[in-house]
Structure formats: C-alpha cells, structure tokens
Amino acid sequence: MTDILNAFILLSNFVLIPAIAYGSQLALGALGITLIYGILRFSNFAHGDTMAFGTMFVILFTWWFQSMGINLGPLPTALLALPFGIACCIGFVLITDRTVYKFYRKQKAAPVIYVIASVGVMFVMNGLVRFVIGPNDQRFADGERFIIKAREFKQMTGLSEGMSIKVSQGLTLVTAVLVVIALFWFLNKTRTGKSMRAYSDNEDLALLSGIDPDKVVRVTWILAAVLATIAGTLYGLDKSFKPFTYFQLLLPMFAAAIVGGLGSPVGAIAGGFVIAFSEIMITYPYKKFIAYIGPDGWTPNGLMQLLATDYKFAVSFIILLVVLLFKPTGLFAGKSV
C-alpha cells in the first residue's frame, strides 16, 4: 500500500503538479491567440511579447508597492499590481490596433499581411520591454514560496517520497479556473459576448444584423490583453521574468492553440494541457515509479525513459505535425490552418 502511495506521490511531484501549472499557463496564453484568430482572423505573433509587456507593468507596480511597504502577506504582491498592469497593457494594445491594424482592416487586407504586421508589432514591443526593464532576469515574487515543502510532506506522512506544491502553482491553477469560467460566461451569456461569437461565425451576417464591428474588435483586444497579462504574470511568478523566454513561449502556445483547434476556446485549454503533459510525461524516466509499483526485485536497470529530455521540444512539434496531417481542424474542430 505504501508503495502505491509512494509511486503516486512521486508522479504527482515530478509530473502532475508541474504539468498542470505549465499547462494552465500555456492554456491562458493559447486562449488569447485563439480569440484573436477566431474574431480578427489572423495569427497574432506579438502575443508572447504582449505577455511580456503586461508583465513588465505588473512588475513595475509590484516594485512600487513593495517600496511603499504594501503587501498581501502570504500571497505575492503582484496580485495587487495585476489590475494596474492589465490596464496599461489594454491601453497599449488598443493604441496598436488604432495605429497599425485598423489601417489594414479598412483595406480588407489578406490575413498574411496582418501576420507580418503583427511580427512588426512583436519587434517593437520586444524592444520596448528590453528598453524599459532590460534583458535580464527579474524576480518579483514575494510572500510565502510553498504551500507544502517536500521535506515537511515526508515528515507529515512518513512516506519516503516528498511532494512540494508552490504557492505560485496553486495560484496559477485557481486563477486559470476563475478566468476560464469568467471568459465562458462572458462569451455565452452576455450580449457583447454573443455578438463576438456571431462576428466570428459569419462576419457579413453579423454586420447585417446591426453588430458594431468596432466594438467587437475593441472588446477582443481588451480580452486578449487581460489574458496575456494574467498568463504572463503567473508564468513570471512561477518561474522568472525574462523577455527572451516570453518570446520563446510563442511556439508552445501556438502549438497548443492549433492542437486544440484555432478559434475554439475549449480547444485552446485542452491543447495547453496536451502540450504540457506530453512534454513532461514522454521525457520522464519511470525507473523509480516501476520500482514502487512492480513486485520486489523488479527495479529496472535503465532509466525507463521514452525520450531524452534533450528532445523535449521535438515532442510539441511532433504532436503539431500529427494533428495538422490527420486532423487539420484540431481536436475541437476549430478553423483549419
């Protein structure tokens, strides 16, 4: 019995908990990408840097609050700074839409032109973030670090395997669930949400029935900025903030959105978890796990690892390829790419 418990704890500590936290962060990012794709009909390459941009403001506000001695006790001060960061990010994103994307909307430009324009926006944001906060690692997490520490868990339960849960991991999961519930309620129950879905399904029909396209576009950008800032802040709290890593997040986030089905919010969430779990589960060595679960003396000599961690990034690419080849609309029947 203890062996089975130990095996379960082992798997939770090194696979389940990290994968759930990473998956939630990817899902929140992929939701923003999928919303833009569904409603504005282009792949927004600037999303990773929008995350960095919003997070940068959260960090600046956090530092300001910390300098004034304001904090949330065991919770990170960044939560308090989050609304301010979101506001700044919304402002910037709306200005970008006004100055860049609106022009192409008027011209009814092809999606590929939007994509290239978003690459330009990406570089500008990239540069702005580096200019303001610098290219280095920034730590802004404070408060308690752990809900349960591995060592304390061992002493508490008497098991030989420890489990640790970080505050940032718990926070990520709770926030992600709340945000997703709020987003689905908004899209399905409110008038604006319904008009957004109508606009996404059939633009001409939506315009004929009197939906204000400018409002739909504006709300979409606001939602994308909110999601990006929350996802970026959670990621920064859990790991650390570095502009370059946010730029690199673009790839797994797009993979998540495409695997789930571009334009489908449920798909984006599922896709986020599929990518996170496969990256970690396929590269995890099951040696110790089998030693616990199998009969005595079954401990394997090898590591029982399907793929070396060096190939971690290949995993998301392979999933992406398989999905594009066999089910181009993604798991949840979004738009084909």
């Binding site: 990290p18 690692d137 420890g162 990621y235 796990f289 060096d310 971690k312």
Partner: protein, 393 residues
C-alpha cells in the same frame, strides 16, 4: 666618388640604426565585442601591461621596443575572427599573437590563419579539451587550463567528500559538453557512478522535465555544468523546489555571488571550483595593475601569455615565430630562476646572459602536454549565501 662613399656609409648607418631600434609588434587578439566583452575589458590591459613592461625595460633583444596591436575575435563569429587574424599577420606584421579567447574562434584561426602563416598563438582563455589534441605544428599554447583538467579537479573534490554517485546536467554548447565529457571520464575512472548525463538549453524558463528526469535517475548530488545566470540557475531552483537534490556541484561557469543571492540559503553547503591560485604572483599583479582589475577572470592569464611570447623571443634572440616557438616551454618551466610579474626586466637580463628562467607569473604557469597550463583551481563552498574559498588545488 668620395661623396658617394660618404652617402653610402650614411645610408648603411641609418639602416643599421633602424634595425637596432626595430619595433616588435604583438597582436592582442580578443573578443572586444560579443558575449565575453566584459571580461576582455580586463584581459586586454593585462596583456598590454606585460608588453609595456618589457618595452620600457629597454633590455628586450638589445634595446628593441614592443607594441601591441588590438584585433577583435568577436568570440563567436569564426569568419570575422579569421579575417581579423589575417589582417594582424599580413598588414600589421605582428610577430606573435596573444589570443584568441573563446574556444571556437581560437580553433578556427589556428587552423586557417596561424598554421599556414607559421604564427605563434598563446591563448589566455580557450579551455576546450579539443584544443589539447589539435594539430598545431607546435605553434599553439595556452596559459588557461583545459577543461579536461577541471574535470579531474572536480572529481577529486567530489571524491574527497566521499560522494560516489552523482547526476550530471550540462548546458548544450562547446563549453558545457566539453566539461561534462571530461568530468564523466575522470569520475568514472575514479570509480564513481554517473546516474544520468543530460543537457539543458539556456534561455528557457521551464525546466520541470529536466528536473524530473534528473530526480528519477537519483544521485547524492547534482553536478550543474552551466551558467549561473541561465539554465543552470533554473535547474537548481527547480531541483530545490521539488526536493529532488539538496546539494549541487558548481564548476567555473556557475561560481559567482549572484547565484546564492538569487537562490538564498537553500544553496548553502553546495561546493565547486573556479580557476584561481594563491601564488604570490596573482597578488603582485593585482598590486601593480594600473587601470584594470587583475583579479577578473583570465586577466592574469593574459599578462602571462604576452610575457611568455616576449621571453621566448628573448631566449631565441629572434622575433621570428619559427625560431622562438621551441623556447616557450623552456622559459615557462623549471629549471631556472622563478619569475613573478613585475620582474620581466630581470628575466630579460638572465636570458640575455644565457641563463635559464622558470616563469611563474600571475597564474602560476606550468606548461604541460601539448603546451597548456597545468591549471590551478580554487575550491569553493557556499556559506551564508556567499561564495567562500576553502582551499586551492
């Protein structure tokens, strides 16, 4: 006729005196731009200090002067480095090169430029083990130890603490791979077991998969051959958070006060090594250093590289690389009078009178094998959130 004779004599006289005051040029070939530009800012003045010291002594090859010519390796761009080295040799006409700095560009310029032109290169900072076995026609030396040596030192440090089983992760580049291979060979030869030997990429934020794999493989400590502000830090943070490892072994790329400052007291008790010596030479150079920091990494090695080239020239009484390349070992190693920084004038006198010297310099130079420093390391341990030195090897 008489007039003609006079002019000929005069012309002969001037050429003779020109030859007497011949200016020998030494290339300072380092990465003034690129990833290690901050280190080079302290390395180049180190090399130039030795050159200025020799030149000012007035004893170099019968009173010749020496001057330095800078060129940029960029540290990463082999094509740019090759072109810069070509320029040093063909247009600046240098007689020896202090450099290059990073292992990759050093290998490229050695094979493409220095060997075809028969030019001597002494690198102060290229540490790749591959440079020990490269074909060099006796033209390449380094005052930096090979990472193969660091692998052995690290093995000794770990074995002395009675640790027989380690997990190993390295940053996926020439430095990380070279050091990891060197360490794995030495540690297994000494009877240790490496449970897993895996790479990590720098610049990622999520290392849970890597930490999961390292933890599953197990081991008493985790050896992290990475960079302290990159993936190495991420791995250590992840391993501490999940309780996978408590103690870490930190090679030179991981040693710095920024790491314990970022991670906190959990890192206390971790240990490792970085190049360093307690020889009196290092302190002496630091004292006489004017306008640069001689304790910065590879600054002392740069001084020694320049000094070795000039002393070898003096011993051969020629600035032609083919003549003095065979003398580098003679001046660097025993027997002979020990020479510390600031004593280059004395060394020149001894060599001019046919005596022998044993150049110790600022980094305790002792050339071994194919012409590389035997290597002196500082054993460190993290105590109270700071790096402290516990001994020298």
């Amino acid at each position: 006729m008489r007039k003609l004779l006079l002019t000929s004599v005069a012309v002969l006289g001037t050429t003779a005196s020109l030859a007497m005051a011949d200016d020998v040029k030494i290339g300072v070939f380092l990465g003034f731009t690129g990833p290690i530009e901050s280190l080079v800012a302290q390395m180049a003045p180190g090399a130039e200090a030795a050159i200025a010291e020799v030149s000012a002594s007035g004893k170099f090859m019968g009173g010749n002067t020496v001057s330095a010519v800078r060129a940029d390796t960029t540290c990463v761009d082999a094509a740019a480095a090759t072109a810069a080295a070509e320029r040093l040799i063909t247009s600046d006409k240098v007689s020896g090169i202090v450099g290059g700095d990073c292992s990759g560009v050093t290998t490229a310029t050695l094979t493409n430029v220095a060997m075809p032109n028969g030019m001597v290169m002494i690198s102060p900072s290229a540490t790749s083990p591959a440079l020990s076995t490269i074909e060099d026609n006796g033209l390449f030396f380094r005052t930096a130890p090979s990472d193969a040596r660091q692998g052995v030192v690290m093995t000794e440090i770990i074995m002395d603490r009675g640790i027989k089983e380690v997990a190993l992760t390295y940053t996926n580049n020439d430095y990380g791979k070279g050091l990891a291979d060197a360490f794995a060979t030495a540690y297994e030869a000494a009877g240790g077991t490496i449970t897993i030997n895996t790479s990590h990429e720098d610049g990622k934020a999520d290392y849970s998969a890597e930490v999961g794999a390292l933890a599953a493989a197990g081991g008493e400590v985790l050896v992290v051959a990475g960079y302290l502000d990159q993936g190495g830090k991420g791995i250590i943070q992840g391993a501490l958070d999940t309780g996978a490892f408590d103690t870490f072994v930190l090679p030179d790329g991981m040693v710095g006060d920024a790491l314990p400052a970022a991670i906190g007291s959990d890192l206390d008790g971790s240990f490792g090594q970085a190049p360093g010596t307690d020889s009196p030479g290092a302190g002496k150079l630091a004292e006489m250093a004017d306008g640069f920091d001689a304790t910065s990494p590879f600054s002392a090695e740069s001084y020694d590289a320049a000094a070795l080239i000039l002393l070898a020239m003096q011993a051969a009484n020629s600035s032609a690389p083919a003549d003095y390349k065979g003398k580098v070992f003679d001046v660097a190693n025993a027997p002979g009078e020990k020479i510390l920084p600031g004593e280059l004038g004395k060394a020149l006198d001894i060599l001019a009178s046919g005596g022998e010297i044993d150049y110790v310099g600022a980094s305790n130079v002792e050339l071994i094998g194919a012409g590389e420093s035997a290597g002196n390391y500082r054993e460190i341990e993290i105590k109270d959130k700071a790096v402290s030195t516990v001994g020298y090897r």
